[in-house]
Amino acid sequence: MTPYNWLMRLGGVLLALVGVLVVQTGVLSHLPLAGARPNLPFIVVAVIGLLRGSPVGLGIGLLMGFLSDLRGGVLVGMQTVLLGLVGLAGGWTATKVFRDNLLVPAAIIAILSAVYELLYIAVANAFGLGLPWDIGVLQVVVPTTVYNSLLTIPVYWCCLRLLGRVRQEAPTISFF
């Protein structure tokens, strides 16, 4: 790949990630379900990790995290680290499970979402931001996890159509 092509591709990826960010802050953050807002950047990073493997997941996670931090990070750098880890974990999980059923990615992302939110509290508290564990787990982690996993199904389907899957044959999708 020539440097020009490489730069064009990077620009396209950055533009797409900014688009995801804007959809989150401008649309999804205004549509809470039981008070919880979904986290589209998180879902996209996890899904790309699942579809493209750890190295790509890590790269996209770091980029998306950095953009999220620039847009409105309370603790700049935290989203970069956490979303990088999410992409890495998504890619690692993809090597361990059978993903051809749409409910499998939804279940994986539910688990990743809960871990991500718990890590978020831990890191925020390590830097003295004082998030409560008890109320937080019940009233934020659980509803956010449910909302994220519900949104995973359309996001995974769209990403699968757009990206396909690398190093594997074309997948089949079913709900059962």
Partner: protein, 277 residues
């Protein structure tokens, strides 16, 4: 190959160290954003504003459609007439709400010798842990950090970071938020703190042991916080928390503002003689 691995480990280590350093620096409260953050927010703001407006309209349409369906099921015969009346009433309510808001804004501006700058909510945070909003007014409109933000009903929060065209407002609900308040009935002083919860309530802690808190009590700002003027409505006590004898009373407060449907706010600009931060 081994050298490649070594370089990769070095870069990953360096990246982690840099990110930890940035996190350490930004963990402290800060009034101003970095130039990169400011520029990024200003570039995204118009797109976010357009999307937010479209989302509000769609949501309103969905709400109205649901209402219309309920009415049809309840009384098919009066559907047409009811729809016309409802549309008319909605227009009137909107005008009345606007009228009340503008009157309160005018009254408040006269009372506090401050001027109010209307603003629209253009973005909300990604994470559920924090409660802040982005408004479409920034430094070029005269907005500065620590300016109070109000909406119809009462206090919304205060501005905590500003870019050229936007400002981030820390809501009362945010766990980092705390403001001085009093019980309107007794003048007992309180601290009202945000909690990381999705229930939309805030926590109030009395500052005197003998404070008398009762359900329904109105809470207003005390004027001691150097941010909010005295007497702005904060909310009403929704539930008094049982505390052991000798400990100051605590309560859950239902905010005066509906944060879930916040679309328009007003920034209380400093008066001509007021000092700015």
């Amino acid at each position: 190959m081994e050298e490649h691995q070594r370089w990769r480990s070095f870069f990953v280590g360096l990246l982690v160290l840099v990110l930890l350093a940035i996190m350490f620096v930004t963990a402290r409260p800060r009034d101003s954003l970095t130039p990169v953050e400011r520029a990024f927010r200003d570039v995204l703001a118009p797109v976010e504003a357009a999307l937010a407006t479209a989302t509000h309209r769609v949501r309103m349409t969905v709400d109205e459609w649901q209402m219309w369906r309920d009415v049809r099921e309840e009384n098919r015969r009066l559907r047409r007439e009811l729809m016309a009346l409802r549309a008319e009433r909605q227009r009137l309510q909107e005008a009345q709400r606007e009228n009340i808001f503008l009157r309160s804004v005018l009254g408040l501006a006269r009372e506090t010798d401050h001027s109010l700058l209307p603003a629209a909510v253009v973005a909300r945070p990604i994470s559920n842990w924090w409660s802040h909003i982005t408004i479409n007014r920034g430094r070029r409109d005269g907005v500065q950090a620590r300016m109070p933000v109000l909406a119809q009903g009462g206090v919304v929060g205060y501005v905590y970071s500003v870019s050229e065209r936007t400002a981030d407002v820390l809501l009362l609900l945010d766990p980092k938020s705390a403001l001085g308040a009093i019980v309107n009935r007794t003048s007992d002083p309180l601290v009202v703190e945000g909690v990381a919860s999705l229930e939309g309530r805030v926590h109030a802690r009395a500052l005197v042991a003998e404070a008398d808190l009762q359900e329904g009590d109105e809470i207003v700002t005390s004027g001691l916080s150097q941010i909010f003027p005295r007497g702005l409505p904060v909310g009403r006590i929704a539930e008094v928390i049982d505390t052991p004898p000798g400990r100051a009373a605590e309560a859950w407060v239902a905010p005066a503002v509906d944060f879930a449907r916040l679309e328009a706010v007003a920034v209380l600009l400093a008066s001509d003689g007021a000092e700015s931060d």
